[in-house]
Symmetry: C2
Subunit: 188 residues, 2 copies
């Protein structure tokens, strides 16, 4: 009998179990949100209650995921729709960010969901609109059955430190590089 | 008005469009298949017909995705269930691999699907059970409306060369490293 192939079967013997995990999908490549939505599908298939909180306005992309997610019973909230990106209006945007984070904190703390996806939260950390120490405190105090996935570029080191699993999506090659537009159904 | 944030909105102006794409998710990190299943969800949300062909037996993991995928109308085929991994039986395994690839070629060539996911195909290329030149020829000759996603570690250079978009999932940190078992609903 040869060794089993080096696929990504995540199961191993003799390991400790945990009630929940914190996962971070970061890096400049594609697939950070997409992998989170794939995990959402997996969690739904297990009968879990799932919440998705989007911290950046997605315009008309991710609308497909949202529609299908809602159809599958996901608690889906677009929290970043109010940002103006206007430097004259930074106080407004900071307030929107604080409100969005307060809602995320409440959703996590409620214990109503086995999985909470904080999509593109890292940008709010990068811009200093949400305090990473506050995020880490909420993750530490979360209900023991609630797993959290955080996506976005440039995840802060302190967040990587406390996460259980961190994946960097690295862009090896992209169709844009050859001047090809994103394709609806695949890229958004 | 400040610049828009560096999120992953894939749309840009002034680019060529294409009827379909070849995407490769490779690397040692998590999320290769998961991101493909996330894209499957996106494609389904657009009303696309989707096929998923699994080239490695998944045992009881990915069963959730399969059940939900089938429920959502995906043409889902587990083609790698017959492998013995027995070095005394290599001819048998080569034959199973050849049959699996023949089915994939037919599914792609049929034009019945806007998206065909060849999950963990790369392992069959690595072991020499399927010829990468043959795969590249089938991709080149595919119906113009059929996009293909190939997942698995160690994607051959020749495949990366012809793919439109290649993402490497890199493992920055994994719960296993701390002796924590994979979690059903998240990892499988």
């Amino acid at each position: 009998m040869t060794d089993l192939p080096p696929t990504d079967d995540p199961r191993r013997d003799g390991l400790a179990t945990t009630d929940s995990l914190v996962l971070v999908n970061t890096g400049d490549g594609k697939g950070k949100s997409t992998a989170a939505f794939g995990t959402m599908l997996r969690a739904l298939a297990q009968g879990w209650s799932v919440a998705v909180l989007q911290f950046i306005k997605a315009g008309d992309w991710k609308v497909g995921e949202e529609a299908l997610g809602r159809k599958l019973g996901v608690h889906w909230r677009a929290l970043g729709t109010g940002f103006t990106w206007d430097s004259d209006d930074l106080d407004h945007d900071r307030r929107i960010a604080a409100e969005a984070w307060a809602e995320a904190r409440a959703v996590i703390g409620s214990g109503d969901h086995r999985l909470v996806i904080l999509d593109e939260l890292t940008y709010l950390l990068t811009w200093g609109w949400v305090d990473v120490a506050e995020v880490i405190a909420v993750l530490a105090d979360r209900p023991s059955h609630t797993s959290v996935i955080i996506t976005g570029r440039d995840a802060p080191d302190a967040l990587i430190e406390v996460a259980d699993t961190v994946t960097e999506m690295r862009n090896v090659k992209h169709a844009y590089d050859r001047g090809i537009a994103a394709k609806k159904g695949l890229d958004y």
